[in-house]
């Protein structure tokens, strides 16, 4: 079947399209756009108009979606299980925080620099830890984030140590929009960055690069034999993923004007795995569902009794592993298949 995008591609000559529009068009048409994909963005827009009292929480949710999305590239597509993705989120957060504290308050350029720093760190760390597999990979990934945690804890003069990094001076976005107490600017800013990242990732996972990553996850030896540089692809995925995680961390620092040591914690690394597993791994949208459900449930349930929240989330995880591999989205698929099956018979 010929898809909509195929038709579009053949009809639009490259030279006739202005460069930028063409690039965006290319990105969006990488795979046929399904109407359901607009749902998260419509919901995000609805929150903006209907629930202004939730801007703060909303921005945090969007940032965690971005973080989970970055990890999905590694976990869902690359099949790389590591317990240390917080390292890159934290590196981005501290970079943006330190830049804002020492005079570089312009948020957009600081965001890019933070992504770059986290990406470079990811490339370095990935070059070391991707040489191992299994438990050693899990451990080395963890060691990176805990090493950074200890460093940030030790360099109290620069990072504020256990008290956290304070006194940031983040300038208005685009020189116009102040970061307000209500979180309006934070919400729009996070939403825009998340959208760009999503467009990029959507294109990436449907590109030959993304498909080869899936191939490597399923059978590295065969991909090697086909002439694919297994090591190179995995490292590239690691670098991109850590850069995006760093951008998520930087967003978190800029919108909350505070960075604490917990950005490097084992809890945060675990949390991103939990979010993805809840939503559904390796399908991009799992990050949206998982992070939103997790953050909103945490906000509601942990208000008076944090232990209640932990109990239910723990129970949900156990049940998800036992009865439904594929998270909440996987559950939707199963239900939909059952219904379709009934209609046929």
């Amino acid at each position: 079947m010929m898809t909509h995008s195929d038709v579009m591609d053949s009809n639009v000559p490259a030279a006739a399209t202005p460069g930028a529009t063409h690039a965006i068009h290319q990105l969006l048409s990488a795979r046929r756009f399904r109407p359901v994909e607009a749902l998260p963005w419509l919901l995000a827009a609805a929150v903006y108009f209907v629930l202004p009292q939730y801007f703060q929480l909303g921005a945090q949710v969007l940032i965690m979606v971005l973080f989970a999305l970055s990890f999905d590239l590694l976990l869902g597509y690359g099949g790389i299980v590591t317990l240390g993705h917080a390292a890159y989120f934290g590196a981005g957060a501290y970079t943006a925080g330190l830049l804002a504290r020492y005079g570089w308050g312009e948020p957009l350029s600081a965001l890019l620099v933070s992504g770059l720093v986290a990406g470079m760190l990811g490339t370095l760390a990935g070059a070391v830890i991707l040489r191992t597999k299994g438990l050693a990979l899990l451990m080395l990934g963890m060691a990176v984030s805990l090493l950074l945690l200890e460093l940030a804890n030790t360099a109290t003069d620069i990072t504020g140590g256990a008290d956290g990094l304070q006194g940031m001076d983040v300038r208005p976005l685009l020189g116009q929009f102040e970061f307000d107490m209500l979180g309006k600017t934070a919400y729009i800013y996070s939403l825009a960055v998340l959208f760009l990242a999503w467009v990029l990732l959507r294109h990436l996972v449907n590109s030959p690069f993304g498909r080869s990553l899936v191939g490597i996850r399923q059978n590295p030896a065969r991909m090697q034999a086909l002439g694919v540089s297994v090591w190179g692809r995995r490292l590239t995925a690691f670098a991109i993923s850590s850069a995006l995680a760093g951008i998520a961390g930087a967003l978190s620092a800029q919108t909350s004007q505070f960075v604490s040591l917990s950005v490097f914690s084992l809890e945060l690394s675990g949390m991103v795995i939990v979010m993805l597993e809840m939503g559904g791994v390796g399908r991009l949208y799992g990050a949206f569902v998982g992070a939103t459900v997790y953050m909103v449930a945490q906000d509601t349930l942990s208000k008076d009794q944090p232990a209640t929240w932990l109990f239910w989330i723990g129970l949900l995880l156990i049940l998800l592993v036992l009865f439904n591999r594929g998270g909440l989205l996987g559950l939707c698929d199963t239900v939909r298949r059952r219904i379709a099956h009934k209609e046929v018979s």
Binding site: N153, E267, G314
Partner: protein, 290 residues
Amino acid sequence: MNTANILVGIAFSGAAYAMVLYMTSVGLSVTMGLLGVANLAHGAFAMAGGYLLVTLMDRLEVPFGLAVVLACVAVGAISLVLERWLYARVYKATELDQVVLSMGLIFVGTAVAHFVFGAQPVRVAIPDAIGGQLALAGGFSFPVYRLVLIATGLAVFAALWLTIEKTLVGARIRSAVDNRAMAEALGLNSKRLFAAVFALGSVLAALGGAMGADVMAIEPEYALKHLVYFLIVVAVGGLGSVKGPFLAALLLGVGDAACKILAPGFGGIFIYIALFLILLVKPNGLFGRA
């Protein structure tokens, strides 16, 4: 305080800490090595051992020694149920599923501990007979309980080593670690063996948690707080090994203590750098099987 005093102090407190780490971690090494389950919830079994010890002593007035034994037996029994209901289903699943399942167990365990025992750490009353200080010539004095910990750790090491290396059960475990399919083909009842090994690992965790409550306080966050150290000991020592975690625990326990005392500013970093270097050179750990 002179240099000798400091060095002996480091070696002593480091060794006591190392033995607590060892007792808990060796169980994890054996279960992970044989069953292939990345059981991050292992620390929750240790925590359960500590809480049971406190409950038995405080509410039922069971003496310390007996309470330790009962706590271990109880945790072993609980773990058998969990093995049948939960773990047996993820033996062949992906690493990710195992990580998520055990994360879920950590969360549930933490929440339950919080409901039942409150947020504050609980205190274990060490009996007077092993609670005092031992003064030696030359101005040294040691807490007797630390000596008991070191002795217990050594005894566990010896018992495990003899069991694994010299008995039939040990031979079965070793054969299943080396080649599970072949061992099963030769008539090994792997289902029963797996359950037994899982229970053994949990009993060891409970022993470490109960005996080590004085070194690592029993609190709801225990399972997550110390998880990193248990995993590091296993990763450095090697999966499925008895000797590996012993040396790794000693290395990390004493090294950690030394760095924290000699270089307080950078003390915490030592353990991660050591982990990094060792795993880079030997991805399977010091005594891991490839």
